[in-house]
């Protein structure tokens, strides 16, 4: 795969609809759609302000958020809720009156943080709450989502819809546990080196399933959504079958060491942040490196340009000499390897495989791709957000707030629908995703 950094002579004037927004011209500053989005956003602020004023002011007392060691900070629940309600009302007014222009997203992010903190203060009013622990486990939970989403983005950017992320992750989890356990018994192998052999095997087998996806979708032009579903079904059936037929009878085949956290020297000592980001397993760091490298290659290299071209307008790319089908094959297979690596996160965390261990995380990764607008960094942010909701639901179930954890768990799904429906800015995928390509 050509990955040279210098701008190639055959660069294509392709604009990615997934990342750029329409530029307003002088006479008509906002399109109809944009005005509608601005209005919807304003309404959303009003609703949030209302929730804050009516619901979140209900609990008195101070919530204590524990940071590392003996540091902590307290937030008085009721005054905070009133403050948040007032500021959101102001924000809503400004949004409806004239909008925030280029600050729209910043304001949205800040408002979200405000309402989130107010919500936590309401839930933990009068009690203590491990703030750092919650954020650290959000990072942990988001890791497989980042890998799955990157695999999805790589496929979809090159024009192949990948519903099969779930299956690829599940296969990664199974293979790494199975091969990892087998390999640790080989002469000269410890459990640790065995585990990494398992990870490599997971990458290879997931890449093979991804190749099957590409082969069926490209060679036989089977609908990509159906192939994806087939792979999900097949992997679920096969791994469950093998797990009850082979692994339960031979428990040695399903026993790998869990991966201990590896603290990054120096960085781990940064207060607060160090504990959240730099006292994690290699998989977490791998996810960050992957996002950085992938973003750079996707938007700065010849390969990335060609990939995006093939996903948006394969005919144009073909005319300029890009081998569309070969590039699709390569990218999908590479995506499979990434998903396989992501799948071995479960093995690293739990040290074993259980039936359907991924439990739909691959579908969440698909949502992450869309909420992240087909951009690796966006996907990282979305994955962190989804991970945050997971860990909040986890921690709040310990606090006994009376708020059913089901509703917290539901939030990311509702959020995805809101994003997909374009109530707060539309997320658009690569144009050619899902369409088989026939070179002439």
């Amino acid at each position: 795969m050509s990955t040279s950094a210098t701008p190639a002579p055959d660069q294509l004037p392709v604009e990615t609809t997934a990342t750029t927004t329409a530029t307003p011209d002088a006479t008509n500053p906002l399109t109809f759609e944009e005005r509608q989005h601005a209005r919807n956003l304003g309404i959303a602020y009003i609703v949030l302000a209302g929730i804050s004023a009516i619901v979140l002011t209900g609990n008195g007392g101070t919530a204590t958020f524990n940071l590392d060691g003996d540091r902590s900070f307290g937030l008085p629940a009721q005054p905070l809720a009133w403050f948040v309600a007032a500021s959101l009302a102001v924000v809503a007014g400004v949004q409806l009156w004239r909008g925030f222009g280029k600050w729209t997203n910043v304001v949205l992010a800040l408002s979200s943080v405000l309402i989130f903190m107010s919500f936590l203060a309401w839930a933990a009013a009068g009690r203590e709450f491990s703030f750092i622990g919650m954020l650290a486990s959000a990072v942990t939970f988001s890791t497989p989502l980042v890998f799955g989403a990157c695999a999805g983005i790589m496929c979809e950017r090159s024009g192949v819809v990948n519903i099969a992320i779930e299956g690829l992750l599940l296969n990664g989890a199974f293979t790494s546990a199975f091969v990892g356990s087998l390999a640790s018994g080989w002469p000269g192998m410890g459990p640790k080196s065995g585990f990494w052999i398992g990870v490599v095997a997971a990458m290879i087998t997931s890449a093979m399933f991804a190749w099957l996806l590409a082969w069926l979708a490209i060679r036989f032009k089977v609908d990509q959504v159906i192939v994806g579903f087939f792979i999900n079904f097949f992997v679920l059936g096969l791994t469950s079958f093998l797990s009850s037929r082979v692994l339960t009878e031979n428990p040695d085949y399903n026993d790998t060491p869990t991966l201990a956290a590896w603290n990054v020297p120096l960085l781990e000592r940064i207060p607060v942040l160090g504990q959240i980001l730099f006292q994690q397993t290699v998989f977490v760091y791998g996810a960050y490196v992957l996002v950085a490298v992938f973003t750079w290659f996707l938007f700065r290299s010849k390969w990335g340009l060609r990939t995006r071209a093939v996903g948006e307008h394969p005919r144009a790319a073909d005319t300029l000499g890009v081998n569309v089908l070969r590039l699709r094959y390569r990218n999908v297979i590479l995506a499979g390897a990434i998903a396989g690596f992501g799948g071995s996160w479960w093995t690293a965390t739990l040290g074993r495989f259980n039936e359907n261990i991924t439990n739909g995380r691959g579908f969440i990764a698909l949502a992450v791709v869309i909420v992240g607008r087909w951009h690796p960094v966006g996907a990282l942010c979305a994955a962190l957000l989804f991970g945050l909701f997971d860990s909040v639901a986890d921690k709040l179930s310990l606090l006994n707030t009376g708020l059913p954890s089901e509703f917290i768990k539901m939030t990311p799904y509702l959020m995805t629908i809101v994003v997909v429906a374009g109530f707060v800015g539309r997320s658009r995928g690569p144009k050619a995703a899902g369409q088989p390509y026939e070179s002439q």
Partner: protein
């Protein structure tokens, strides 16, 4: 983005040469025997062969000893246990029907949407919505069965229909792709069900786990084998409801004006728009009907099979139904047969697991493979060295953008 044909078979164009053909050949031509009969049979045979390979290759103990004969015997026993477990006794037949009933309705749900050009994987969520509505009617009412059962079924249709209709409405109004929204609404429905089952209104008194109050015995669907007192014969009238659903789908697409519009919209949205049909209304309506059918499936599961709701009463039926619809080529009769076949696999698989120690999960593998070979006719032809004939693809849906 253009829409491709959803229904594989070409329109029945009268051909003058038809008259000269022998009657049997003409008959097979008319029902499109290649696509509707040969291909499914080959797909099933291919899947069974691949399944046998998987069973054989995982028999580690025998493989180590090189006992090929033993492996072959296991495979033979397993595949003999499948039909005998499913059809060998009245109880087996009953279990087959019990498994097939919700699969038919959920498969119809997928097919109605698919023929309208929508990839509806939300049958799970729609079953939850319909089932919860039905169970609420079932335990809160106390009337004669003749009133209560139809009301519960109606509640199922409305519940599932509204849940599916939301997806259709979102698609029509905002273009939100139904694959994404249905995945999300499935999770939301599952979580809502779990929450509802813990509320005072729904939860069975004195229980800690999420389980609903029981539907009164009057409100249950009557037994299908009414002449027998054997409680293990669980098959109920839900099967007849499912068959009625299949007839409804046939009527909808073959006889009704709305169905004609849906079909046109499904195969060519632009043509439908130019002909003055309303895409937004059709999308919402298609998802409402589809959701209603799935909701009916959820309702039969509740007031027929289980009698109460649990957090997993929809199970994997919603996803299996996709395979059923694909195998049945999105036609009502095909779906009924495909669902019965899947029911046979399910009921027979349990006996197979008992007798040969082969995990039931092999049924999942078989189902996946059947879907593969159906969805990729070119692959099946390649394996069986058949010359190219008929349509190439079962289904194609619109991409993210449309």
């Amino acid at each position: 983005m253009t829409a491709a044909t959803v229904d594989g078979s070409p329109a029945d164009a009268p051909d003058p040469s038809e008259r000269d053909k022998p009657r049997l050949v003409a008959f097979f031509d008319r029902i499109d025997a290649y696509n509707n009969l040969l291909l499914p049979v080959l797909a099933i045979v291919s899947a069974l062969i691949a399944g046998a390979l998987i069973i054989g290759l995982t028999d580690i103990d025998r493989l180590k000893e090189g006992d090929i004969g033993g492996i072959l015997t296991t495979i033979k026993d397993a595949y003999l246990a499948l039909p005998s477990g499913a059809l060998g006794s009245l109880r087996g037949i009953s279990e087959t029907i019990v498994s097939a009933t919700p699969l038919i309705l959920a498969g119809l749900c997928f097919a109605v949407a698919a023929r309208s050009g929508l990839f509806n994987i939300g049958a799970t969520g729609q079953m939850f919505a319909g089932g919860m509505a039905a169970v609420w009617v079932g335990f809160s009412m106390d009337g004669p069965g003749i009133v209560q059962v139809p009301l519960a079924l109606l509640a199922g249709i409305v519940g599932g229909g509204l849940w599916g209709g939301i997806v259709g409405f979102l698609k029509a109004r905002t273009g939100a792709h139904e694959v994404i929204t249905t995945i999300m609404t499935n999770y939301i429905a599952g979580l809502l069900t779990l929450w509802l089952l813990k509320t005072e209104t729904f939860q069975q008194p004195g229980k800690d786990n999420p389980i609903s109050k029981t539907v009164s015995s009057e409100g249950r669907l009557p037994k299908l084998f009414f002449w027998s007192d054997d409680p293990s014969l669980r098959a109920h009238w839900g099967f007849l409801v499912a068959l009625a659903g299949a007839m409804f789908m046939w009527w909808l697409f073959e006889r009704s004006k709305v169905g004609f519009e849906l079909r046109t919209f499904g195969s060519n949205a632009d043509a439908a728009r130019y002909a003055g049909m309303k895409p937004a209304t059709l999308t919402t309506l298609a998802m409402f009907i589809a959701g209603g059918l799935a909701g009916l499936g959820g309702a039969t599961q509740i007031i027929g099979t289980q009698g109460y709701a649990t957090e997993s009463f929809a199970g994997t039926i919603g996803f299996d139904a996709i395979a059923v619809a694909l195998l049945g080529r999105n036609k009502p009769l095909g779906i009924v047969f495909a669902a019965l076949l899947f029911g046979i696999l399910e009921a027979g698989g349990r006996k197979m697991q008992l007798e040969t120690d082969i995990p039931l999960d092999v049924v999942l593998v078989l189902r996946a493979l059947i879907v593969l070979f159906i969805a990729a006719p070119a692959l099946t032809r390649l394996i069986w060295r058949l010359k190219s004939e008929g349509s190439t693809s079962v289904l194609q849906f619109r991409g993210w953008g449309a």
